[in-house]
Subunit: 325 residues, 2 copies
DNA sequence: CGAACGAGCGCTCAAATGAGCACAGGGGGG
DNA sequence: CCCCCCTGTGCTCATTTGAGCGCTCGTTCG
């Protein structure tokens, strides 16, 4: 039975309730103390407090002390079943600035979650590079390059140094190599993989416990790999249902890896290896990547996210629609 | 490990804290449940919640559902040690409108706190009249007129009917009389007091348990009695420290009654009788009355207040300054 | 290099709290 | 007119929670 008038039980009752609520919630007194102070039974106090909360007189909010939207973060974490999740509060639309913010957030997250027992894997992505730039401290761990680089003409991110830079901050050994992410044919790829540096890095992939990656959508400007692929191949892959690209690994909307000729021409971590990594943290931005992120998470390729509030909201909404259509 | 900024313990910790806080404060889960859900010890959960509150991440506010500022009300109640207190949220400066609002609030308060065992006393004041106008329901109690009326020329509040009107709503007997609040000399006063109606009402004053009154400051336009007094007498009384007037009773800044020739010329409740009333509810408005209200409360003449937020704030501040100068 | 220190963690025990129950009083319907 | 339901109240007992303790581990200073 709900009182229709919303609890208008007289002003004195209202004021008493407020006083009790103040003592309890703001001054931290126990209900017994309050009961004694106001000459009430503790049950009465408890009921007063229940009323106060039910009538909306006591409002409790979870705030954000910094640039992180903690509410959205935990919601998204719960919705997608993530291990970690950081949602920044910036509603910036400019990609560069967004990337910088997310990079900083990811750097903080990494500083926090990486322990000396971990092995860190880094995929090649501008957002990961931004993370490296912002990284200030890191436990001493081996740092392993997971993919070849895919430098785009005219863009110098100096990100070939990515792994070395992070390893320098960490103080641990760096396993890196100079090779492209994709090569023209499978034979070249096989040859490259036999290169000592490449082979050495690859041999460490199995022991990686935490990896950082970007997530690309299979569309123009939404994936460096897409942009570097021939038009015929793009179309063919799209037809096979490719939805997302994570660290060179292509998956469909359900998150299942899509094998293709391109797979054999890649220099980098495989789908199976990526799934085996305990925690893959993806830095993602841009509303175009909603489906790609969902696919990556569903497929178990990604279990942690660093993103911005707009995308986070869209993700929660999309996941909700999927769950209960 | 250098944590430069206090409390910044990493975004993952922040998000976890937020998630725990949400479950606890918003979803009402027990700490044990939360501990199981997040695979933590219940102590860890408790510490997380302590952190969340200490760092200001959890904000708890006491809101006001209506026109009553419950926070201010209870603060004022605590500060002055009042029995009841109602502070309306109106910041109206127009006296008539203010009086109307306060009258309505007082009427609600009266409906709530008056029980069939009470005896209600009414003093003559425009604010009490406003209360009567707004009064809709009241337990069946005797209603006693406490003072003569002091009708000002040109102002018709039809408030001679005050006591009868309230008694009609209540359904109880009315003890009223037609006499002025002050007469030219003590002999006339004595004669008037012997009038049957007056004597009958006066004989009931001792049994009054709840009284309503206004509070006047001893200054022009701040007390009907002041305005009706000769200039010589005004000055003499001011010199004797008169600070406030409650229902015809004059008190100094400390709340002590000030006896004078005027006292003998008054038709109404005495200081001692007023102190004996269990609860005297004063309806007050206007910042000029800060000191008067403090005096009335200190002297024990008034133990409940109905007022507006501006005056309430000023009262709290003034009381605070007095307490710790 | 070792010891002192402080932070973080989980335990114990007592106090605080919640859920359900029994009882009293009051108002409306039979 | 009486009875029943409904609300408000305080009780008992099981669960939850808080305060203080000792432990361990990492850090820092001698």
């Amino acid at each position: 039975m709900v009182t229709a008038t919303g609890g208008t039980r007289g002003p004195a009752h209202l004021v008493l309730t407020a006083a009790v609520a103040r003592r309890y919630y703001l001054d931290g007194r126990s209900k017994v103390e309050i009961a004694e102070e106001f000459s009430l039974s503790r049950f009465k106090v408890a009921r007063l407090l229940d009323d106060a909360r039910a009538s909306g007189m006591v409002r409790i909010e979870i705030g954000h002390p910094g640039t992180i939207d903690v509410e959205l973060s935990s919601q998204l974490m719960a919705t997608l079943g993530l291990t970690h999740c950081v949602v920044t509060d910036t509603q910036e639309d400019e990609p560069a600035s967004l990337r910088e913010h997310l990079g900083a957030a990811a750097a903080e997250l990494l500083s926090e979650v990486v322990t000396p027992d971990d092995v860190l894997g880094l995929s090649w992505a501008r957002s990961v590079s931004a993370m490296a730039t912002a990284l200030r401290s890191l436990a001493t761990v081996p740092v392993v390059q997971l993919t070849g680089a895919l430098a785009r003409p005219g863009v110098d991110d100096s990100s070939i140094e990515l792994v070395r830079e992070v390893a320098r901050v960490s103080g641990g050994p760096a396993y890196f190599f100079y090779a492209p992410m994709a090569v023209p044919d499978a034979a070249t790829a096989r040859a490259l993989r036999r290169q000592p540096e490449v082979a050495q890095a690859f041999s460490r992939i199995g022991s990686v416990t935490i990896a950082l990656a970007g997530v690309g959508a299979w569309a123009p400007e939404q994936s460096t790999l897409y942009d570097a692929t021939s038009e015929t191949e793009r179309a063919a892959l799209a037809e096979r249902g490719v939805c997302a690209e994570i660290s060179g690994v292509l998956v469909d909307a359900a998150g299942e890896p899509v094998r293709s000729a391109l797979t054999d021409r890649m220099i980098g971590i495989t789908a199976a290896q990526m799934c085996a990594v305990r925690e893959v943290i993806a830095i993602v931005y841009g509303l175009a990547k909603v489906d790609a992120v969902l696919a990556a998470v569903r497929g178990g390729m990604v279990n942690s996210l660093v993103t911005h509030s707009t995308l986070a909201t869209a993700l929660i909404e999309a996941a909700g629609r999927k769950a209960a259509p």
